[in-house]
């Protein structure tokens, strides 16, 4: 009896945390999204106006589609880069494995703003890349100066470390001798990857995908600093509602839509995955 109470009390801690840090702010967001603003005033009359604006305004749907495409492309690129990198660390990292993985986390030690500014310094018209190109007598690369490509590079740069870390951890937990088993039973190295390595690390890969996709969807700083005039993404537009135009209710509605979109994205990914088929038991490696 006593143990059961203790168990419940312990479960209560995460519950309270979730309520305080997640549910309550989310609820206040939802409430705000059904009010409206009028010249920096919140008017508390219940209405669907913000959602109607979002659905019919055109611009917001454009931002969302842009962001979905951007987040999808960036997440895919991150995974395409992170896989060989993590795999190489696992295979050849030896005793420097941990060091190498930690090295990937180093950019996290600086703020996101600093990293974006550093990238601006790299990609801009007077940035390192173009400065070098021009010094070599060639034309500067226009497509990396304040474009969506620059934003994508920026987002990949920001979130690649997360994806590498997640996939590395997944591979670390993966019993590589299963590859030997597959080879012994007639699988070529490529086939062994398809049959064993990939499905058994699919769950980790998807976590990496989601951990990259969701923040990309709400990215504010990167499009703002690197995206140029045509690079407005959903998160940046949403931040505008809160920061500059004071249309908080519309911003809250954008936030709710973003939240729902993220959930749907996670569910869509989740429903396509049979956890058993990823060797996931929920109880650690069995």
């Amino acid at each position: 009896m006593k143990g059961r109470w203790a168990g419940r009390a312990l479960l209560g801690v995460p519950t309270v945390f979730l309520l305080a840090l997640f549910v309550l702010p989310l609820l206040s967001m939802v409430v705000l999204s059904f009010w409206r603003t009028e010249n920096y005033h919140i008017v508390q009359d219940w209405n669907l106006g913000n959602y109607i604006t979002l659905a019919t305004g055109g611009a917001y749907v454009t931002f969302l589609i842009r962001s979905l495409v951007m987040a999808g492309v960036v997440s895919l690129v991150c995974i395409l880069i992170a896989w060989p990198v993590s795999y190489a660390i696992i295979l050849y990292g030896g005793r420097y494995r941990l060091l190498l993985t930690l090295a990937f986390a180093v950019p996290f030690l600086t703020g996101e703003v600093l990293r974006v500014i550093a990238l601006q310094g790299l990609l801009g018209p007077v940035g390192l890349i173009n400065a070098v190109l021009m010094a070599l007598g060639s034309a500067p690369l226009r497509f990396i100066m304040y474009t969506n490509v620059a934003s994508a590079i920026g987002l990949v740069y920001l979130y690649l470390p997360i994806v590498v870390t997640v996939i590395y951890l997944s591979l670390l937990n993966f019993d590589a001798r299963l590859i030997d088993a597959a080879k012994i039973f007639g699988a070529s190295p490529l086939r062994a990857f398809v049959e064993v390595t990939w499905p058994l690390n699919l769950f980790g890969t998807l976590i990496g995908f989601v951990l990259c996709f969701i923040p990309c969807l709400s990215a504010t700083l990167v499009p703002r600093f690197l995206g140029g005039a045509n690079g407005t993404l959903y998160g940046m537009a949403m931040a505008q509602q809160f920061g500059e135009s004071g249309t908080w209710a519309l911003g809250a509605a954008m936030g709710v839509v973003l939240f729902l979109t993220s959930i749907i994205a996670v569910l869509l990914v989740g429903m396509r995955v049979d956890l058993r088929r990823t060797g996931f038991t929920g109880f650690g490696r069995g």
């Binding site: 019993d175 001798r177 299963l178 030997d180 088993a181 597959a182 080879k183 012994i184 039973f185 007639g186 699988a187 070529s188 190295p189 086939r191 062994a192 049959e195 064993v196 499905p199 058994l200 058993r276 088929r277 990823t278 060797g279 038991t281 069995g286």
Partner: protein
């Protein structure tokens, strides 16, 4: 020979894990690679499988030089110590894996899986995932996955090490039965001499990357070629000593005089082994006139361990211990009883101090 290793070596950094191994294995042979951990037996197996490349030497399977072939082109199968079943595949999918890789038609795959399920009594478990199986069941699936593709050879890497004793003995019989039924060579890596002795036709004793001896299991047990084998295979009592002037006896360090089965050069330093079950016991009650003297050691029973049909005696002899193992059908001794342990000179295995049989 169906499988031939010709001067195979494998070097890691500066260590030779496998050192100039040459051996041949017949088509219907059950061969064990027996050795302590780190002896290189598993590396040898992985070289045969193609998971490791030999630094030097050739590997031939069924007359074909496979030294440079990757594992999936060698047509051999393997059973791993940790089973290494695919955790994301059901039992029948695990069993079908080798067949799918062989691109067999679905009907044949189903047929062969059913066959393996039958011979390994896995019926009813087909839809389960490996982590829903007991250790013994996982072992059967691993074995089934090894057999289902009818490989040219089945390599087994300590497959029973993770099972409890009873299950192990059951599986030993079963594995042996499948080997004779299929008529393909099984190469069985183990550090457990009982497993090697119970199943193998021939045993290769591996030590420090080299084959100490490769012979029929009875030869390995009854006539160990080296002191290492005498020590490692079976359980023995060991003595050290020097051959006396007449060349007929050995004076051991513990003061006993032992008669030799054959004369030797005087002054030769030797080591002698006698298996526990070859040590005969008689009560020390003065009825035996020559109770003391050569090859008769007066001991006291320190402890008795019952092992079913056998009783293991721990004997105090001077300041050392001797071990004897006698059938329960013989007279039993009790703790504290005085006994005479008798070593028949014919049962003594005698080696130089460097471990070789004296010439």
């Amino acid at each position: 020979m169906y499988i031939t290793l010709d001067g195979v070596s494998r070097q890691y950094d500066s260590i030779w894990a496998v050192d100039r191994v040459t051996m041949g294995i017949g088509k219907n042979e059950f061969v064990s690679l027996l050795g302590p951990s780190g002896s290189g037996k598993t590396t040898l197996l992985r070289i045969i499988a193609g998971l490791e490349k030999p630094t030097t030497g050739r590997v031939l399977i069924d007359g074909e030089d496979v030294t440079d072939l990757p594992p999936h082109k060698r047509g051999v199968a393997m059973v791993f110590q940790e089973f290494l079943l695919f955790p994301h595949r059901t039992v029948s999918e695990n069993l079908a894996f080798p067949l799918r890789m062989m691109k067999l038609p679905a009907a044949e795959i189903a047929e062969r899986v059913a066959w393996v399920v039958g011979i390994l009594s896995l019926g009813g478990l087909e839809k389960r995932y490996p982590n829903q199986l007991s250790g013994g069941q996982q072992q059967r699936v691993a074995l089934g996955r090894g057999l289902v593709g009818r490989p040219k050879a089945l390599l087994l890497d300590e497959p029973l090490a993770n099972l409890d004793r009873e299950l192990r003995q059951e599986m030993e019989v079963e594995i042996r039965r499948h080997q004779s039924a299929l008529g393909i060579p099984f190469i069985y890596v183990t550090h457990n001499q009982e497993e090697a002795l119970s199943m193998s036709d021939r045993i290769a004793v591996v030590r420090k990357g080299r084959i100490e001896d490769f012979a029929a299991r009875t030869d390995i047990y009854d006539r160990p070629k080296t002191a290492f084998i005498a020590q490692f295979v079976g359980r023995s009592n060991r003595f050290e000593g020097t051959v006396d002037a007449a060349g007929r006896h050995v004076a051991t360090r513990c003061g006993t005089i032992l008669a030799l089965p054959a004369p030797l050069t005087a002054g030769h330093a030797v080591q002698l082994f006698i298996k526990n079950e070859k040590l005969r016991l008689a009560p020390d009650d003065g009825t035996d006139g020559a109770s003391h003297g050569a090859n008769r050691l007066a001991c006291t029973v320190k402890d008795v361990i019952l092992r079913g049909a056998y009783a293991d005696y721990i004997l105090a002899f001077g300041d050392r211990e001797l071990n004897a193992s006698r059938p329960r059908s013989e007279r039993a001794f009790l703790s504290g009883e005085a006994v005479i342990a008798h070593l028949n000179p014919e049962d003594i295995d005698l080696f130089d101090m460097d471990g070789e049989r004296p010439s």
